[in-house]
């Protein structure tokens, strides 16, 4: 199904080289320049506002540049919010989510890709069907479920599901693992390796590019999650950045000035942007993997 290969093994045909028959028209370039400028405005305004002074913000006419760059906004934001607390909470939840996602989906995908058993393809249709289940219908029952377990207002509802696999990630990993040559696995089995060992010592290392894709996307999802913490976390000391900032913005609008809110937002976004620049090729692979038939 997925035709863009993510090169797991040498015997997968490389992509044809980029065609060069069509050259960039100026029309396309101008359109891209204009759109890029528009797409940069929110990010630009975020950065600029994060450095502005309160008097600068009070000016009748907004300025494209801060009249003076106020670095103290960041330390002030740190004090105005329990920023360090929220940040650490977000980091812990994200890290555990990534660990759970990588381990659980790797194991489940192995069961669908590398083991032969009767009914496998039919059961896999169930996986595909559940990809399209809207989260809205699960909202209330899952909330009740955690309530019965007395785990509302803890991090368990946010982390535990990642340890139980995700249909979409299982799908992605399975497609990747199917490209691993059977002979490689069978050779190890003949030499007496258990399935767990085949998974850990052969399949996992080969699948590293695909595992990186799901790690990155689960990290992004956990870091940016709003609805989960909104529903499950009530204690302020448990809050993540997403809800913490919104809560304080609503309850203390006079204390949380615009420049401080932007400075705090910038600090929330920065780790994601850094991760994007470090792992850009994995990002692009991950986005295009799901969409190409």
């Amino acid at each position: 199904m997925v035709t863009t290969s993510i090169e797991p093994t040498p015997d997968v045909a490389p992509r044809p080289p980029v065609q060069t028959t069509r050259h960039g028209g100026w029309g396309a370039r101008i359109f891209l320049l204009i759109m890029s400028a528009i797409f940069l405005i929110p990010v630009y305004w975020l950065v600029v506002t994060a450095f502005k002074t309160p008097t600068d913000l009070a000016q009748a006419s907004p300025s494209w540049f801060p009249r003076s760059w106020r670095w103290a906004n960041f330390s002030d934001a740190f004090r105005a919010f329990p920023f360090g607390r929220f940040f650490i909470n977000s980091v812990i939840i994200t890290a555990l989510t990534v660990i759970g996602t990588v381990i659980s989906n790797m194991i489940v995908a192995y069961g669908f890709a590398c083991l032969e058993w009767r009914g496998r393809d039919k059961v896999f249709y169930i996986v595909i069907a559940t990809i399209f289940l809207p989260s809205a219908i699960t909202l209330i029952p899952v909330f009740d479920l955690w309530g019965w377990l007395h785990l509302v207002n803890t991090w368990f509802p946010l982390i535990v599901p990642s340890f139980l696999g995700s249909a979409f990630f299982v799908f992605l990993l399975r497609q990747f693992m199917l490209q691993i040559p059977r002979d490689l696995l069978d050779a190890a089995r003949i030499e007496g390796a258990s399935e767990a060992r085949v998974l850990w010592q052969i399949v996992a290392p080969i699948s590293r590019p695909a595992l990186a894709v799901i790690a990155i996307f689960s990290a992004l999802g956990a870091w940016n999650d709003f609805l989960g913490p909104l529903i499950y976390l009530q204690d302020q000391k448990l809050q993540t950045l997403a809800i913490g900032l919104q809560y304080l913005r609503q309850t203390q609008p006079d204390k949380i000035t615009t420049n401080l809110l932007m400075a705090a937002s910038l600090m929330v976004i920065l780790p994601v942007v850094i991760m994007f620049f470090l792992f850009q090729r994995y990002f692009i692979r991950g986005i295009t993997l799901g969409g190409v038939k």
Binding site: L32, S36, I140, V142, V268, I269, F276, K293
Partner: protein, 305 residues
């Protein structure tokens, strides 16, 4: 499925059972997850949609009362209409912008990697932070949008204070996520063989004709994918309205999922909210089937040359 003989349903051998047992071990996280977070929620939503249930006290059975109430609840009608208007504008506009961006990037402009990065950048920003930024951008005092538009003679106004304006802002904000769909389109465009265009050129087809007869049909599965993604997202639009407008002004941005959330977690009407969820689920399936049905006429899978 390597069945060599004609008999399709061979009896389960001991070896089959052993293989299944081993597989179940590997599948167990997914089985547990699917039971807890898919099967149970589906059944439970349907069950309590027929009851009055606050989450604390017991369940009181109401029959179809929650469903009949849906039809007489003016706020429900309003939230459904708000969501519909959002989807009618946001989904097609989003598809067109993403497709145009992908087509432009596919023109092999040399610095395409720069555009790709910039255009994807807003997709990285969490929706709550992006909403904060928009509140600032739109501020009538220090926001840049009013300043920019005033250069073209548009009077300064508070867009968030106006029902149509507020909805427009949330639709407009959603377009900044176009980079994501654009990259999916771009990958699809990369799979269109160059030779087809060359052959069409030889036959004298102009650019528009080539787009209509080659690009569009070959891209149709990707368009279908992005369309279904877009519809799904539109049905569940919620967070920007929660942060930017809190549903106002005059409930003009009270979207369906927002109202569902309020019923469930602010008013403790879990039974009624579940009825809303069941309806949303059915509408989602109906729309997906509709799109798939339409697509069967237009979507081409694979090259038949």
């Amino acid at each position: 499925m390597a069945t060599t003989s004609v008999k399709k349903r061979a009896p389960w051998t001991r070896k089959d059972r052993a293989a299944l047992g081993k597989a179940l071990l590997f599948l167990s996280p997914w089985i547990l997850g699917t039971l807890a977070f898919t099967v149970f929620p589906l059944v439970y939503s349907i069950v309590i949609s027929f009851a009055r249930y606050t989450g604390l006290s017991g369940i009181k059975w109401l029959g179809v009362q929650n469903y009949t109430r849906l039809f007489s609840d003016p706020l429900l009608g309003k939230s459904a209409l708000n969501t519909m208007w959002y989807g009618v504008f946001a989904v097609p506009i989003g598809l067109v912008i993403a497709l145009l961006l992908a087509l432009a990037m596919n023109r092999r402009v040399r610095e395409v990697a720069v555009y790709r990065t910039i255009l994807y950048l807003p997709s990285l920003i969490p929706i709550f932070a992006f909403s904060f930024i928009f509140v600032v951008l739109l501020n009538p005092g220090y926001g840049i949008i009013n300043k920019f538009l005033s250069a073209f003679g548009v009077a300064t106004q508070n867009y968030l204070g106006d029902p149509v304006g507020a909805k427009g802002v949330i639709i407009g904000m959603a377009q900044f996520a176009a980079g994501n769909a654009a990259l999916i389109f771009l990958a699809g465009l990369n799979n269109v063989p160059e030779t087809l265009y060359d052959a069409a050129k030889v036959d004298g087809a102009n650019a528009f004709r080539r787009f209509r007869s080659i690009t569009l049909p070959l891209l149709s599965p990707v368009i279908l994918f992005n369309a279904i993604n877009g519809i799904n997202a539109a049905l569940q639009v919620f967070i920007p309205a929660y942060i930017i407008t809190n549903g106002g002004p005059n409930n003009s941005t009270l979207f369906y999922l927002f109202y569902l959330y309020k019923n469930a977690f602010s008013y403790a009407q879990l039974g009624y909210a579940s009825a809303m969820a069941v309806i949303l689920f059915l509408v989602g399936i109906a729309l997906a089937l509709l799109v798939f049905g339409l697509s069967r006429r237009y979507v081409h899978y694979g090259l038949e040359v």
